[in-house]
């Protein structure tokens, strides 16, 4: 098959699969979904194989009227690598979800949604040019909102979905502006390595950056991610570890050349700060999924540093390693949640004993993300540390984030295993969740003690869930060897490991572990994290609140002034006309007395015009506006004739005027 066919199949297969699941009978839901998930691996592997042979391809066509506005897909090293990551995580998560949604009444809809999301994400990473990218980017955002809101059992899930969509959509304005500016500057929306000069170029760069920050949950736009945890756990595993949030990093990696210079520098700073702040926030959370959300922001921040300091290969390497490790933890969290009906850490204390296999997978994923050698994320994070050596400030922040990740993952692991006197600290469901639930204003009481989406307690965890977690955990172990081949695929030199980076990484790991064993330090850091998270959330809320307040203000003006002004004018005109009419009659009498026949004729003529034309119109208007309900249709009809006659008279008069001026 031609590369073009594989490209389109990579997008079409999950889409068709999703449709199939939706239409399949309920009892065939799981096999159809799993089959669809598995078959999507085929085109992705074919693409990776083709790219490994150095092949590139593009396939597309004109979508709009103008030339230059084509949509299409492309095969190159980066797109193939991303397609592979998306397909693999997607397949595992969908298979897992067949277990998770086994007893859910709308399970088919959820599975179809997940498959459709995979299709949209494939379109995003395979997009050839900014137009296709923008289309897929926005669809990914909308589908993610739909998937988060799917868990309506949780009262704050809709609020979380809305916050996620609105935050990312607001940031997407950047992508729109970048597209407009690029089109204005070059007349093309193809991917390019050259940034236009001047203000347009700056707009292209900052717009792309803004969109990436929003999608990848970077400071200061990171707060939507924690709220999104109210969605079902498979959704979190797919969207909020490996795919949707990864789109921001992908966008930067794809446009690394275009963004060279200050934009990448800025991206590095944002990433480095988010890496630290995200870790801090994770330390302050008491809900397992929200810990993982903070961790995701932090790890994606590291990837931004990776793009800025080491190039796309470094970032994508960590993206892959993180995808496997983080998805593993989410999948395990879902298993715990099935067993205990909650993801609140306090409720999950000691769950490891009941769920040893899931816990083992969790521990493996956590160890990888915490950069325990020789697991995958150790190597990928180490490559970032090594790349950051050029910028001492970034190096410090990256190492701090590394220590943080060790601490924020060890803490829940210890609670799950019920080892040591780790207090969970913080408010019960996380400050953000409570606020989110209040804002939802749905009138539903928040159910106490529920961390994330509240699946019914089933006690029985379907084996397919644990199996999927185990598969990903295994992948996480093996992926460490992926650095060099991945770099080869992307045409970059293999990521380096230096003595400094290894020493620094190990030191950070130890430091993190030590902190967890010091309750006071841990509590202080947790408080700091909660405060940071709450502060950023307040900022986001304030922005939204300001817009809504402004909207109410404008609406009030519209209601009181704009709509009523014409009414008031009409009433005023009616009053004026009555006054004029009275004066006119008075004047008429005087004229009769004073001037005689000629004057009388002129006056009566003017009176006719006055009454027949202007007065009747204004008066009719006044009556129509001022009068309450009288006989319905008959009265209306009568008035209409007047209006029409007035209109024609008035128009004719003015027409005459124009005609006269035109002729003379």
């Amino acid at each position: 098959m031609s590369p073009a066919a594989w490209l389109w199949l990579a997008v079409a297969l999950p889409l068709v699969g999703g449709l199939g699941v939706r239409l399949a009978p309920r009892r065939l839901m799981a096999p159809v979904a799993a089959g669809a998930a598995a078959i999507t691996l085929l085109p992705a592997s074919a693409l990776v194989a083709l790219a490994a042979r150095g092949e590139t391809a593009a396939s597309g066509g004109r979508w709009l009227g103008s030339a230059g506005l084509e949509v299409g897909l492309r095969l190159d090293g980066l797109s193939a690598a991303m397609a592979g990551i998306v397909a693999l995580t997607g397949a595992v998560v969908v298979v897992y979800a067949t277990g998770y949604f086994e007893e859910h009444p709308r399970g088919r809809s959820a599975l179809a949604g997940l498959l459709a999301f995979v299709a949209a994400m494939q379109a995003l990473v395979l997009a050839d040019g900014f137009l296709m990218l923008l289309i897929a980017w926005e669809i990914v955002g909308a589908l993610s909102a739909r998937l988060i809101a799917f868990g309506r059992e949780r009262p704050d899930a809709p609020a979380g979905a809305v916050r996620a969509f609105l935050t990312t959509r607001a940031a997407d304005t950047g992508l729109y502006l970048a597209v407009f500016a690029l089109w204005a500057a070059t007349g093309s929306l193809a991917f390019t390595a050259d940034r236009p000069d001047g203000a347009l170029g700056a707009l292209v760069a900052s717009g792309l950056l803004l969109a990436a920050i929003g999608k990848s949950a970077q400071v200061p736009l990171q707060s939507w991610l924690a709220g999104a945890m109210a969605g079902p756990t498979p959704v979190s595993a797919l969207l909020h570890s490996a795919t949707m949030v990864a789109a921001g990093v992908y966008l930067l990696a794809r446009n690394e050349a275009l963004l060279a210079g200050w934009p990448l520098e800025l991206a590095g700073w944002i990433g480095a700060s988010t890496a630290v702040l995200g870790a801090l926030i994770a330390l302050g959370e008491r809900d397992l999924k929200r810990v993982l959300a903070g961790s995701t922001s932090s790890q994606l921040g590291l990837m931004l540093v990776g793009v800025a300091a080491g190039g796309p290969a470094v970032a994508v390497f960590h993206l892959a390693a993180h995808a496997a490790g983080k998805a593993t933890m989410f999948l395990a969290a879902g298993a715990f949640q099935h067993a205990r009906g909650s993801t609140d850490l306090e409720d999950l204390r000691g769950v490891a004993r009941a769920q040893p296999a899931a816990f083992a997978a969790f521990a493996l994923g956590a160890a990888s993300i915490a950069a325990v050698p020789p697991l995958a994320a150790f190597w990928s994070k180490d490559a970032i540390v090594a790349a950051a050596e050029t910028n001492p400030a970034w190096l410090v922040l990256v190492l701090l984030a590394g220590a943080g990740s060790a601490a924020y993952l060890l803490r829940p692991a210890l609670v799950l295993a019920d080892r040591g006197a780790i207090t969970v600290g913080g408010s019960r469901a996380g400050a953000g969740a409570e606020r989110g639930a209040r804002q939802a204003g749905a009138g539903a009481e928040r159910r106490e003690g529920q961390g994330a989406d509240a699946a019914p307690v089933q006690r029985r965890v379907p084996p397919v869930m644990v199996g999927a977690a185990a598969v990903l955990a295994g992948a996480g172990v093996l992926l460490g060897a992926l650095g060099a081949p991945l770099a080869g695929l992307l045409g970059a030199p293999a990521p380096e490991t230096t003595l400094v980076s290894v020493a620094g990484s190990l030191l950070a790991l130890v430091a993190g572990a030590v902190v967890v064993r010091r309750p006071r330090a841990l509590a202080a850091l947790g408080h700091a994290g909660t405060a940071v998270g709450a502060g950023l959330l307040r900022g986001a809320d304030a922005a939204g609140g300001a817009v809504r307040l402004g909207a109410r203000g404008v609406a009030a003006v519209d209601e009181r002034v704009a709509v009523r002004l014409p009414d008031a004018l009409a009433r005023g005109a009616a009053a004026l006309s009555r006054g004029v009419d009275r004066a006119d009659r008075g004047g008429l009498d005087a004229a009769v007395d004073g001037v005689g026949r000629g004057g009388l004729l002129a006056a009566s003529a003017s009176d006719r015009v006055e009454r027949g034309g202007i007065d009747a119109a204004v008066d009719g208007l006044a009556r129509a506006v001022g009068r309450g309900g009288r006989g319905a249709s008959a009265a209306q009809t009568g008035k209409l004739h007047e209006y029409l006659r007035d209109a024609v008279l008035g128009a004719a008069a003015i027409a005459l005027l124009i005609a006269l001026t035109a002729i003379t």
Partner: protein, 494 residues
């Protein structure tokens, strides 16, 4: 066969026949109205088949009327006329199928809907200014009665206000038409000639005044802020099918006029005022979105988003009029503007049906009172979500390609205007998502336990509109290849 004439005359004949039916006509008025509107749509579809894309204005049908004034029955189509006519005819079929007032459709309502259809189609197809104006005003009369007779509680306030306001708006249009007639050499009402050979090559006082007269008239109709105040009242009080036609078809009378007359016949003065017009469009975009965000009544909310969406059209038309714009960018802008008219017509009609369905069931359209609709009425909820996402400009649905083209063209001319207008995308996303969260995704209240999901008739009118929305979103060339602004726009433009 004079297909265009048939498309206009069939509804008119049917209106007369329906009016002649006896006292207890039963289902006959609705059947006849539906039949006539479908035939009219078929005539237009056949025109589409005969239509030669890229050939500009064509398939002219002409019959002498008042030779001394060069007034004639002139109909013809280019990409804009035909695409808007087809869209209108589709919406009329849907509106007539759904009906106005008690079911089945009565004689009066059927006759008025048919009269309105004939007038709207005549307006879009007219190539004679006299016919153009007559059609323009007849639409007012027909819509006035639809609101006044079958509207909601406050119709006695809304109907005259609508009528007067828009009538005041149509007077300057009449003046402009007469002025153009008098200025043309030889005097003519033939729009094709006025387009091909514009009277004014510069932007003198006379040209500016005539431009202004047309602009004010069409601005009221579109509506452009601050001429919009008739719209919320009219929409809220109109019956469901009336709102559908008002937003879906009649608002386009204004923007069609802006393109056909202000841009094509008065390009020189338009170039002078293009930025001012674009800023008014920008104000409409932001103002409409902000006011919509503050609404609790779903129908008012949709009405104000119409102001927002029509603002994009105005920006696109203004960009096309700007001096120094390239022919390609101008075609892009008008492609986008016309596609936006069509997309908005379809999407907003769906939205007004959606508002009508829930008001009919729940007795309220208050988004703060309604709750849990997604769970109570999953089909309705799903279709609504799709329509909401279409209206907020999501790719894959109809309005995205239209707005994108407008933005791309406008940014080329005035980056600041386009960039600020892009904020409208965020606000509309906010208002639709909040509405969805509040009324659809929340916990259902006790009192909504008995709500039924959509019935056959409701699905029958809504689903085709949603299908069109998706089709245009995925494959916008469905309409764009027909519109093809580049082929007819530039005839007389500098």
């Amino acid at each position: 066969m004079p297909l265009l004439t048939l498309a206009v005359v069939l509804p008119l004949l049917a209106a007369a026949l329906v009016a002649l039916l006896g006292d207890r006509p039963g289902r006959a008025p609705q059947a006849m109205a539906l039949g006539a509107s479908v035939l009219s749509l078929l005539a237009l579809a056949a025109t589409w088949v005969r239509f030669d894309s890229g050939a500009g204005m064509q398939l002219l049908e002409e019959a002498t009327w008042i030779p001394s004034l060069d007034i004639a029955w002139r109909l013809g189509v280019d990409g804009m006329s035909l695409s808007l006519s087809v869209m209108s005819a589709v919406l009329f079929v849907a509106a007539i199928a759904y009906g106005v007032g008690p079911r089945p459709l009565g004689r009066g309502a059927a006759a008025l809907l048919l009269l309105l259809e004939a007038a709207c189609l005549a307006f879009f197809l007219a190539q004679d200014f006299f016919l153009f104006y007559v059609a323009f005003d007849v639409t007012l009369v027909a819509m006035y009665f639809l609101i006044a007779l079958w509207g909601e509680e406050n119709r006695r306030y809304a109907a005259p206000k609508f009528f007067l306001y828009t009538l005041v708006g149509s007077l300057p249009v009449l003046l402009g038409i007469i002025a153009l007639f008098l200025q043309s050499e030889p005097n003519t009402f033939d729009m094709t000639r006025l387009v091909a050979d514009p009277v004014f090559r510069d932007a003198g006082t006379g040209a500016s005044l005539i431009f202004l007269a047309f602009f004010v008239g069409f601005a009221v109709k579109t509506p452009i802020v601050p001429f919009h105040t008739w719209l919320p009242a009219a929409h809220v009080e109109a019956p469901t099918a009336g709102s559908v036609l008002l937003a879906g078809v009649m608002l386009k009378l204004g923007t069609y006029g802006l393109v056909r007359v202000n841009l094509q016949m008065l390009g020189a003065p338009f170039a002078k005022y293009a930025l001012a017009v674009a800023i008014l469009g920008l104000v409409s975009v932001l103002y409409g979105a902000l006011v919509a965000l503050a609404q609790r009544d779903l129908k008012r909310l949709i009405a104000y988003t119409s102001i927002n969406h029509m603002g994009y059209v105005v920006i696109g038309v203004a960009a096309a009029a700007a001096g120094g714009i390239s022919a390609e960018a101008r075609a892009l802008a008008i492609d986008g503007a016309v596609l936006q008219m069509i997309a908005h017509g379809i999407v907003t009609s769906a939205l007004f049906f959606i508002a009508g369905f829930i008001a009919h069931r729940a007795g309220t359209r208050d988004l703060h009172e309604l709750s849990g609709l997604m769970r109570r009425m999953p089909v309705y909820g799903g279709l609504t979500a799709l329509a909401f996402f279409a209206s907020l400009g999501l790719p894959g649905l109809a309005q995205f390609p239209a707005e994108l083209q407008i933005f791309l063209a406008a940014f080329d001319v005035w980056p600041a205007v386009a960039a600020l207008a892009a904020l409208g995308l965020v606000i509309t996303a906010g208002l639709f998502l909040l509405a969805l969260q509040r009324a659809f995704l929340s916990e259902p209240a006790e009192r909504w336990a008995g709500l039924r999901d959509l019935g056959r008739l409701e699905l029958g009118v809504l689903v085709p509109l949603i299908v069109l929305t998706v089709a245009l979103g995925i494959y916008p060339r469905l309409a764009l290849d027909l519109i093809d602004a580049g082929s007819w726009l530039g005839v007389g433009l500098p």
